[in-house]
Amino acid sequence: MATPTSTDARIVALLRLADDALILGHRLSEWCGHGPILEQDIALTNHALDLIGRARALYTYAGELEGAGHDEDWFAYRRDAIHFHNALLVEQPNGDFAQTIARQFFYDRYAQLYYHALTESPDERLAAIAAKSLKEIDYHVRFSSEWVIRLGDGTDESKTRMQRGIDELWRYTGELFAMDELDRAAIERGFAVDAAPLHDAWNTAVDAVLAEATLTRPEDGWMADGGRAGRHTEHLGFILADLQFLQRAYPDATW
């Protein structure tokens, strides 16, 4: 087996984006058949489709750049948790509907800013994937933001749950904007954008929605990180055990 950890900053940058999309898409797919009402069940699985579609485009590109014969399935099914580059936020459990919405809201608002900036990439193919994804993300942003407001400014029960979801996941939002050496190398080659300056715009957008939702913005304190470098919470292993079972049990199975 070829080395699963690339040192090519371009590939790592693509995998960071792709792994975010795959793992969040998988999490949302867990709602299939369990949504609070039929329309929201369908909405969450629609989001999952968009995210997994995005992951496929990015993995395929990463595999072509790498030139080691790895396709989208290889990246999804054959890597261990330590070789996944997703942010810790997206692997956090669904919890209740409010927690899922909080996770989605934080991610969507980040993704909208990040992919918007990425449409300016000098790499045409990545810019095309970003432009395509951004159209879908705009719909996601509206969905998650509206639900934060509806639940926050809803009943005592929904407000309590929405606030809890926001509070629980706040500590995972800092990682989305943290930059390391690989990011900086990827930026030079047009495969990443500097996320740090996007943090202000994210805060402004998030604060506005939380205010409208009559929710309390958590204090900025200690932020968890490590996902980008393969140091994950215990949840990712369980996701992969489910996601990868078939290809692990029957390598190269096709049907």
């Binding site: 909405a43 489709l49 995005r54």
Partner: protein, 163 residues
């Protein structure tokens, strides 16, 4: 554009229905972006509607089958993401066929209508044409559709949303 070989291919592709909305063809949907000949080799370029649309692979296979059935042997079907697909590429004929089928076609132009926060379009009911309709969910039975309800005639319907 006047190349009769290309017109012939277009006619074949215009007989390929969308697998999820079979009243419209892949040409109506604007999925077929380019038809060209590299020498004798035919190259058809298509673009997905949504990145995760499960129909994309089925559409590609259906196009291959249609071309094979029409006698083409030397051809390739390629996929492009740029420029990204937009509902602006839905043909007028396609929009009319959607409406007759009970799916409200996109309202306005995607280019001028960003998915703004809190901004929902007025979508006329495909059954009674009333504009008294309510968006039930922006995520419907397929990635490209939203779920609406007509408050005048009670009809639940799909809306082919702007992208």
């Amino acid at each position: 554009m006047g190349d009769p070989r290309i017109a012939a291919v277009r006619a074949v592709l215009d007989g390929v229905p969308d697998p999820e909305i079979p009243v419209v063809t892949v040409v109506d949907l604007g999925i077929v972006r380019d038809i060209r000949f590299d020498g004798d080799r035919l190259v058809v370029t298509i673009t997905p509607t949504y990145t995760g649309c499960p129909a994309t692979k089925v559409i590609e296979d259906a196009i291959r089958d249609a071309l094979t059935d029409a006698g083409y042997t030397d051809f390739a079907v390629e996929t492009t993401l740029s420029p990204p697909w937009t509902t602006d590429w839905l043909s007028e004929r396609g929009r009319e066929k959607l409406r007759e089928f009970g799916i409200a076609p996109p309202v306005g132009s995607a280019a001028t209508k960003r998915a703004l926060f809190g901004d929902a379009p007025t979508v006329p009911c495909p059954r009674c044409r009333s504009e008294q309709t309510t968006c039930v969910s922006e995520f419907g039975s397929t990635p490209c559709k939203a779920h609406y309800r007509c408050d005048a005639c009670g009809e639940p319907f799909d809306y082919f949303k702007c992208l």
